[in-house]
Amino acid sequence: MRRGSIASLLGIGVVAGGIAAAVALALPWLPKPASNEADRVGPLFWFVIIICIVVFAAVAAVMIYSITHFRAADDDDSDGPPVHGHTGLEIVWTIIPTLLVTAIGIWSAIVLSRNDALGANVMRVNVTAQQFAWSFSYPEAKGLTSGTLRLPKGRSIQLVLQSKDVIHSFWVPEFSQKEDTVPGIVTKLHFTPNRLGTFPVICTELCGLGHAVMRTSVIVMTPAAFDKWLASQTKAVSSPDAGVAGKAVFTNNACGACHTLTAAGATGKVGPDLDKLPAEAQAANQPLETFVHDSIVDPNKYIEKGFHPNVMPATFGTALSKTQLDALVQYLISSSKKG
């Protein structure tokens, strides 16, 4: 190979690698991390990206060089040199990729084992997935369930995941951790939130008609604020006041993720507007209380215009206790009359 061709090969490779590196650096690839685990995935990601860019640049250089330098004229019927192979070269391009993927494998295995390792003072949260809602319960505050996941910053969290119907998958992009919820078995996921804020919880495994809207939020709070919230919620659930208890049931079961209810500050658009319950009950020709109760227990009984059956979970009738259900019905009636 002539010296000039090596120089132009290198030149093309540097340009191709530069373009690829610019694409890699200019675009915001990974979301801003919010957990110790995501902090470990980031460097691994960049390590693999650098290897990818180098390989891509090498291939691009040889290809572009060949296309520009070895193009034959249309009427050129001659053949190229009859080279059948080169054992040394073949050994080189077997060994180098082997070494590169070995390095990636070792780094990945280390990150994986550290990300799975539970820290001291683990907090467990039980996650129940169903079509198409998440619910989180806190064994530390017995019986408390919530539709949004609230977590203290800096504590090692282990999610214990279960599904009531089909496979779902729990993902918080900012945590870079994900695990399926599988009916019939218990799965686990570990992460340590390290940034305050509200992040999306996304179902990433196709689970049916409402898959796209099976979302909620995770709110990472300071440990003090988290403890305060835990205490206030524990109190509200057992409150004798139907309004307070009903609102807690509404919030804890993530009703607001899909429904609008001004009194609860909920603005969901997936299901019917609960501020309009009286009008909807009238349209269905039912007393308001019966209408609200039946619509929770058997969501397909009345389908509002513009909405689809089988989207709302049909399990609230059995999942909620009679006290909780009554409190929720009373709360919805009083709130919708106001709204």
Binding site: P81, I104, L206
Partner: protein
């Protein structure tokens, strides 16, 4: 036929009067489809009534038995796919060299049970292209819905059905059978064989395909809607939470899978037993090697997806509980069985493309393929390793955690034989005499896109990165770089490469190049941004998404419409060139492999005389090298100089 070495009986079967009612053909096919359908209906209803089951008219078993099992069998029997075997079974006199249904002299012969591998190859290609166009339109409907956040045109069941049927058609009715079609045409010719080992089985495998495709498509008109659980059909969503349309998917996969297995067996026997004298394994063209290894994968792996779909269908229709945890089933079991096929299926959809690209790059670089033996061995390495990586689709599935690191290691190691192939193609081009005809452009397009798809595959092999991007648009981007930038580009390369041999006419080179550039640019604009939206947090298989992804999705949708339009150029070129293109010489690419040493299109029985193979198939530039000795082809327009190059 003159000067043939075997006495071929070409007498067409005939009869008079009402014979068209019982003679093999479309009328008998229509009658027997209806007859078998009614029989299935009667059998199911009769047995239910006799057994006292209530209600007697239960649609899921009726539809399954009558429409999805019996009617297709009636269609196949009516068309005549079983006639020879049936005649043999009942003791009617048969002739082993009966060639009544061989070859094509008019377009009508393409609508018959034809035993000519060249005709079957064309049947495969035209059929799969039809499903490619339909599958592509479904994808454009998906992109139309995704152009804006929120739901615009489709309710969730229809939307989920659109992408599920899109993927199923593209995988089971386009990529896999299109490769089978190209190989059907080329492999026997390349081996110096007169036909495939089992021509009647070959005909049957083709006619299973339209059944599978129509079954998957018709699920849209089933009450409740099309199957809407993705082409992966995960249980228990697909097995117990779906309308009847899911069974159309389960059964469609069975018919396509049966076709696949029969073809693969046929290839294996053909390649092992029907090589021309002198055609040792180390003298076989790499396309033959690629189909040999692919067929091994098909024969070993496909029964697993058949099993998974039967179990899923049993859960749906018969209330067994293979995957229903409520009754003791194991939901993850489905994924293990499914991926034990569907990961090797990725190689089933890629290795034949490797073969095509090896042919094209060597011929259009005018150089021997670099490192021929290592190229063949790396195909075998991919076959072996391919069976040890399935659980990398399941890193977040909740399977036994210890499985992740071993599966990651094998997954990363597959990059090594794949890398060997890519570097060897580059080395083949090095210092060659490159001619950029359309097949070469698509081969180079494949090379560059497959490198990107392979590198994102390495990223996915690293477990922590995979955990982050699993089930996001990053995956959608990756599979399209591998299956579109990879497989589909090689299918286009193969179609343009063998077009002169198949049709006897040249395609329009300018339109071919236009098609390439529109596809190449449209493809990258469509699929590259998907990496980004996936990384940032957009899950796959959703009609609605967070508003922050709106502008990129609009961009992707617009690009995808451009990509869709590029197919019109391709179809226009194929159709007009097939009808009116300039007559093709027997060897327009000056290639050495055997299919180019006979006329275009080849004689009805391929070779007047079985060729004697004396050398390697890629000896471009080697003075005096000969691949095979054969008498010049009979067709008049072929000059001896063209036949005996170099």
């Amino acid at each position: 036929m003159t000067a043939t070495t075997v006495d071929h009986d070409m007498t067409p079967r005939s009869g008079g009067g009402w014979s068209y009612l019982y003679r093999a053909g479309w009328i008998r096919a229509a009658l027997m489809t209806a007859l078998f359908g009614f029989f299935g209906f009667g059998l199911t209803v009769g047995l239910r009534a006799w057994g006292g089951y209530n209600p007697v008219l239960l649609w899921s078993p009726i539809v399954l038995i009558s429409i999805l099992v019996c009617a297709p069998l009636g269609f196949l029997a009516g068309l005549g796919t079983f006639d020879y075997w049936a005649g043999y079974a009942i003791g009617r006199p048969t002739k082993p060299d009966d060639h009544a249904g061989h070859g094509a002299t008019s377009w009508r012969d393409y609508f018959k049970v034809n035993t000519d591998h060249k005709v079957i190859g064309m049947q495969y290609l035209v059929t799969t292209l039809i499903f490619f166009v339909i599958g592509g339109m479904l994808a454009l409907l998906v992109r139309a819905e995704l152009a804006k956040p929120g739901t615009q045109y489709f309710d969730p069941q229809t939307y989920n059905g659109l992408f599920s049927v899109h993927a199923s058609l593209m995988i089971f009715l386009f990529v896999i059978p299109a490769f089978a079609g190209l190989a059907n045409f080329a492999v026997p010719l390349m081996l110096g064989a007169g036909d495939m080992a089992f021509p009647r089985l070959n005909a049957l495998s083709f006619w299973l395909l339209p059944i599978a495709g129509i079954m998957m498509l018709s699920s849209f008109v089933v009450p409740g809607g099309a199957f809407a659980c993705g082409w992966t059909g995960y249980a228990p969503l697909c097995s117990t939470h779906q309308p009847l349309g899911a069974v159309f998917f389960n059964q469609g996969v069975q018919w396509a899978g049966a076709s696949s297995i029969m073809t693969a067996l046929n290839f294996l026997v053909t390649i092992i037993t029907m090589r021309a004298p002198g055609m040792t394994f180390w003298r076989m063209p790499l396309l033959v090697w690629a189909n040999f290894t692919t067929s091994l994968l098909v024969v070993i792996a496909t029964p697993f997806i058949a099993g998974s779909q039967f179990f899923s269908m049993f859960d749906h229709v018969m209330h067994t509980a293979f995957f229903d945890p409520g009754h003791g089933g194991y939901a993850l079991g489905y994924q293990h069985i499914f991926w034990f096929y569907s990961h090797p299926a990725v190689y089933i959809m890629m290795l034949p493309g490797f073969g095509i690209v090896s042919e094209v790059i060597s011929v259009f670089s005018r150089k021997p393929i670099f490192g021929y033996r290592l190229m063949a061995l790396s195909l075998m390495a991919i076959v072996v390793l391919g069976f040890s990586v399935w659980a990398h689709h399941m890193f977040v599935s909740g399977m036994a955690p210890w499985l992740r690191v071993p599966m990651m290691i094998t997954t990363l190691l597959i990059a090594v034989p794949t890398g060997i192939k890519i570097f060897s193609w580059l080395a083949t081009m090095w210092e060659g005499k490159l001619h950029f005809n359309t097949p070469m452009l698509f081969a180079l397009g494949f090379l560059s896109m497959f490198v990107i798809g392979g590198l994102s595959g390495v990223m996915l092999g690293a477990v922590p990165i995979d955990i982050h991007v699993s089930d996001t648009y990053f995956i959608v981007a990756h599979i399209h770089y591998v299956l579109f930038g990879g497989s589909v580009f090689t299918i286009f390369a193969g179609m343009y490469y063998w077009f002169p041999k198949m049709t006897g006419r040249m395609y329009n080179e300018r339109l071919g190049k236009l098609h390439f550039w529109l596809t190449f640019v449209g493809f990258n604009l469509t699929f590259f941004p998907m990496h980004l939206v996936g990384m940032e947090g957009m899950p796959r298989r959703v009609a609605d998404y967070a508003p922050k992804f709106a502008s990129l999705n609009m961009f992707i949708s617009l690009a995808s419409f451009g990509l869709g339009l590029s197919t019109i150029v391709f179809l226009y070129n194929m159709i007009t060139s097939w009808r009116n293109g300039p007559i093709a010489p027997s060897n327009p690419w000056r290639a050495l492999t055997l299919e180019w040493q006979v006329s275009s299109p080849p004689p009805i029985f391929n070779f007047d005389e079985i060729p004697q193979v004396v050398g390697h198939p890629y000896e471009y530039g080697v003075p005096g090298a000969v691949h095979a000795i054969l008498t010049p082809a009979r067709a008049a327009e072929v000059t001896p100089a063209e036949v005996t190059t170099p």
